[in-house]
Amino acid sequence: MLAALRRLLPYLGRYRRPILLGLSCAVASNLFTLLTPWLLKYAVDDLTTGVTRQKLALYALGTLAISAAGGVFRYAMRRQIIGASRHIEYDLRNDFFEQLQRFPREYFDRARTGDLMSRASSDLGAVRMMVGPAAMYAVSTGVLAIAATAMMISIHPRLTLLVVTGLPLVSLMVKFFGDAIHDRFQHIQAQLSEISAIAQEALAGVRVVRAYGQEDAERAKFLAANDEYVARNKRLIILQACFYPSMTFGFGLGIVAFLYLGGREVIAGRLTLGEFVAFNGYLGQLAWPLIAFGWVTNLIQRGLASWQRLLDIFDAAPSIVDAPDARPLGTPVRGDIRFRDLTFTYGGGPAVLRDIDLHVPAGSTLAIVGATGSGKSTLVHLLVRLYDPPASSVFIDGRDVREVPLQNLREAVAFVPQETFLFSTSLEENIAFGTRDAEGPARLERVRTAAAIARLDKDVTQFAEGYATRVGERGLTLSGGQKQRTAIARALMTDAPILVFDDALSAVDTYTEEEILTRLRAATADRTTIIVAHRISAVRHADQIIVLEGGHIVERGTHEQLAFAGGPYSDLVRQQQLEAELAVS
């Protein structure tokens, strides 16, 4: 735990001035708070014995002055400490995001976005509460509690002992209830997300639900989840119903003890009425610190747990990083690709690729075909180090890709993935995603050119706002084919010497596919191109075709060489021709 806290020190250190200043203000403001009952004591005592109007005026002004001075310090305390906590939160969040950016694809395959999101929001929030409000209240209430007790002791030590000893129980109670409530609250939240999930499913799948007459079954699921939600809430409600009143009750007991014992002391003449009133005032001032102690403990506990969860992310070493002796590829990059004795497994599982030997000369086109799971995608993923290949197995321009800086490597390869991710900005921004060009007519012209090659231009003319149309999650929903064509245009915009299409035409119909490929051939004549595809139509013009089966290259050659060779490729050709000829049957 201490080790974990030490990791927080650099962040705190950056803001040590406002934090120290704020904490001093916390101490100062509470010292002023203590003065009020003291002043009342003198006022009441003077009133019982007789006093001048001038002195009364002094007391009245004193009250105001004390409150004003205390207020100024309290203002400064809040601004400094809470302000610093917001700065720390900001720094932490930036670092968190930067750290996530270093993780390879593999990490995001395993991690759930929801989990990472909750670390970035609620865990970070809990850490902020720990370094901000919790620290502030711990110091200010600590000072107040100690000082108020000291004042009470100075008035009447024995009475203080009798009245105050039981009160820390209130703090313990707050802590106990706080933990239990937090725990049950988590259960309730979990159930609420269950309800959401069920409702989401029924609403998003409304067509299927209705077509299959599933309304009743879905309703039953939904209501059962709601029943459970109510039941869990009931458990929390009972706890809460005990918590707050028992706090006031516990504290009230102290007041009862004081009323009786203190009253007796006044009657016996061992305590003045003024002291009685002041003592009562200090007792009242203890209430909040006692509650706050319990609360602060909970905040710190939660903050520490959350900080640990954040550290898990900060401490995870990104597995794909630049080698210490990484050197950029020579300029210009020619685009000569070579796979040499490449065997690859995912995290020690069975080999996904085996003994791959392959040369793709600069400027030529390689097509990869094969069934689902034959290793096609893996092969191209290794080229851009989405996963790391073994050393000395994948080369660009004769250089091991592992010895090339990631930045430089990915600049050299424009990659069109299987699943297109669109950001919720304009279509233009999405297509220009990989370029560094500034927005303007020149860039828009290039976007148009790329979109024309990808056959997206016709679609765009139908959008009301053309290339300025907002797409993605909060914009226009594009069809699968439109998305893929956007991704192709995006890749074309980059001018990278190597182009990779990872099954990037699957949602485009055969006719459009042919059109795109024809235009691509013209536009990418001097670029090295790798096409992963299912359909013969997409690969037949390639300079070199390989067929993968179970991670092996089982056939290689041109379309002309393979189409009638009687191997798996010619089977594929036959299958797909059969499809076409079914027409005449």
Partner: protein, 623 residues
């Protein structure tokens, strides 16, 4: 998922909405009354406490009466017990009533959503509907459990304090009330600024979350295109704005609390100055003075509490406005005769299907428009004999999917009529009508639960053997068996672990297990490898066996062997016939066919190869 329209806040109190909200309280009025009594009792005993201290000082301590002090201490203890009981009762009854109301509302909203026409779903994204079911209902719960009640409690204790102060000494009371306008002014200032800055903070929180969500999901793309630095810069900007919005809001809190305290101190000072003078003059006692100072402290708390509740009330009003808006949306597609039935009592999905039905469909002069004025279907007529297999082709926007929506009565025809086995579909109860169909959609929708559960889909009366049989018939059995727990394997996140082809086969098994008379297929998926595609094609034949089938397709290969093919073009039925007949016609179908096959190897002998032209039909493809 636009959230902006959900953030408009209106007034904090609307009597029309409030009256309607109060109706939800009706079933629980007994418990609500009990809670009210508990609140009144709780306020009363808490207000009695300073009075007791005053009595102790004036009547007993000052006079040296120890037994009187004992009585007061015991009375004080009594108020503590009373306060405990009152608060316990109040919290438990009130919160439970809140839970019940929330349950009732959720059920009502959910039921209504389940009945609402699909047109409503077209207009409202699922995310927005989810907000209704979850957070809007929550906001109303807050209103019942903490909002209304604590405002009531605050008003009550405020009134109580005012009463007690006046009873103690009306002149001193008036003096104390002097500072009230000041309090109101400060509170008003605080409230308006905090509301504004809170809204600002919320905007940045949601932008921060949206950015993160998007960039975590799209991290692969960011990395591939080396946008890390740019994304970081953008994140930093949003994060910084979020921080600064928060920093601005600190200012208001930092000023508000000390300011309120200062006003409190002002009233203490006034009481000391004037009250002290009166004590000296002998008009009031010291006990009164001390009680006044104590009450003055309690006096300000309800006022600042109430100001915090204002936002809550406002949010609840906005939420109820939206909820009632949803509940008031009329359902137009209903069962015949009855207005509509509660799903729970509708013709149950498990009810035996009338097997006697043959599955003949007549579409008679049907027109339809989603938006009045722009007809998507124009006077479409055709007849499907029982057991016949019909293919429908046409470009996107030609009205193919609309036809299916009308058949299943997701929408009602604008004019004309559709009959099944001679009965107008509007005269058949919805549940019964839909039980004749099995719908297989392009995007297969999988529910959470097991594989078997997804084939059976809530119909508990379908035995395991039937599930397995259906899966075997459509070639889904081999891959299901290979899953870790076979048919009992849970479907993770909408079937993320299954391939597109596997999901398609599952949906076939689902349709087969339901054994409907009419099968409706909406464009089998395109992105599967050839082997899977052959499996799917074969499974389709099994599925269509002995059933009336209506299949929509983009790819002609899937429907070439249908009994009849209908060609829709811009909402009109333009051609109809078998594959060969249509090719011979050399119309739209022929052009579509040419376009799809000219790029493949040898030209099919079905029709002489003509030079391909870019056809208007294909121009609006994928729109």
């Amino acid at each position: 998922m636009s959230i902006h329209d959900d953030e408009i806040l209106g007034k904090a109190y609307d009597s029309r909405l409030m009256r309607r909200l109060i109706r939800y309280l009706r079933p629980y009025w007994g418990r609500a009354t009990l809670a009210l009594v508990a609140i009144v009792a709780g306020v009363a005993v808490q207000l009695a406490q300073p009075v007791l201290v005053k009595r102790a000082i004036d009547d007993y301590i000052a006079r040296g009466d120890l037994s009187g002090v004992t009585t007061i201490a015991l009375l004080y203890l009594g108020t503590l017990v009373g306060a405990f009981v009152a608060e316990f009762v109040q919290t438990t009854t009130l919160q439970m009533v809140g839970q019940r109301i929330m349950y009732d509302m959720r059920r009502e909203v959910y039921d209504h959503l389940q009945r609402l026409d699909l047109a409503y779903y077209d207009r409202n994204p699922v995310g927005r509907l989810m907000t209704r079911v979850t957070s809007d209902v929550d906001a109303i719960n807050d209103l019942f459990t903490s909002g209304v009640v604590s405002v009531f409690g605050d008003v009550l204790s405020l009134a109580g304090i005012i009463g007690i102060l006046i009873a103690l000494d009306w002149r001193l009371a008036l003096l104390t009330f002097c500072v009230l306008p000041l309090i109101l002014l400060i509170t008003q200032w605080f409230r308006s600024h905090v509301r504004e800055s809170y809204r600002e903070v919320r905007t940045w929180v949601s932008r921060l979350n949206a950015f993160l969500q998007e960039n975590l999901t799209g991290m692969g793309t960011v990395q591939l295109f080396r946008r890390e630095a740019l994304a970081y810069g953008e994140f930093d900007r949003v994060n910084r704005e979020h921080r600064d919005a928060n920093l601005r809001s600190i200012y208001y809190y930092a000023v508000f609390y000390p300011a309120i305290e200062l006003v409190g101190a002002t009233s203490t000072a006034l009481i000391l100055w004037f009250g002290g003078g009166w004590v000296l003059a002998g008009t009031i006692t010291i006990g009164t003075l001390v009680a006044f100072i104590q009450y003055a402290q309690r006096f300000f708390r309800p006022i600042s509490d109430m100001s915090e509740k204002f936002n809550l009330l406002q949010a609840a009003m906005a939420s109820s406005e939206r909820l009632f808006g949803l509940l008031d949306t009329p359902v137009t597609i209903t069962d015949p005769g009855s207005g509509f039935r509660v799903p729970g009592s509708a013709a149950g999905s498990a009810a035996p299907k009338p097997k006697a039905k043959a599955g003949g469909i007549v579409v008679d002069d049907v027109s339809f428009a989603y938006v009045p004025g722009t007809d998507v279907l124009k006077h479409v007529s055709f007849v499907v004999e029982p057991g016949q297999r019909i293919g429908i082709v046409g470009a996107t926007g030609s009205g193919k999917s609309t036809l299916i929506n009308l058949l299943l009565r997701f929408y009602d025809v604008s004019s004309g009529r559709i009959t099944i086995d001679g009965t107008d579909i509007r005269e058949v109860p919805l549940a019964e009508l839909r039980s004749h169909f099995a719908l297989v959609l392009q995007d297969v929708y999988l529910f959470s639960g097991t594989i078997a559960g997804n084939i059976r889909l809530g119909r508990a009366d379908i035995p395991d053997a039937r599930v397995r049989e259906a899966a075997e018939a459509v070639h889904a059995d081999p891959f299901i068996r290979e899953l870790p727990q076979g048919y009992d394997t849970p479907v993770a996140e909408r079937g993320a672990t299954l391939s597109v082809g596997q999901k398609q086969l599952l949906s076939f098994a689902r349709a087969l297990a339901y054994d409907p008379q009419i099968l409706v297929l909406d464009e089998a998926t395109s992105s599967v490898d050839t082997e899977t595609e052959i499996l799917i094609r074969d499974a389709l034949h099994v599925l269509m066996e002995g059933r009336t089938t209506i299949a929509i397709a983009h790819r002609l290969s899937t429907i070439q062997d249908m009994d009849r093919i209908l060609v829709l073009h811009r909402g009109e039925l333009r051609e109809s016939g078998t594959h060969q007949e249509l090719l011979a016609m050399r119309g739209i179908y022929h052009r579509l066919y040419e376009l799809q096959y000219q790029s493949h190897g040898p030209a099919p002998s079905g029709g002489p190869a003509t030079s391909p032209t870019i056809d208007p039909v294909m121009a609006d493809e994928g729109a």
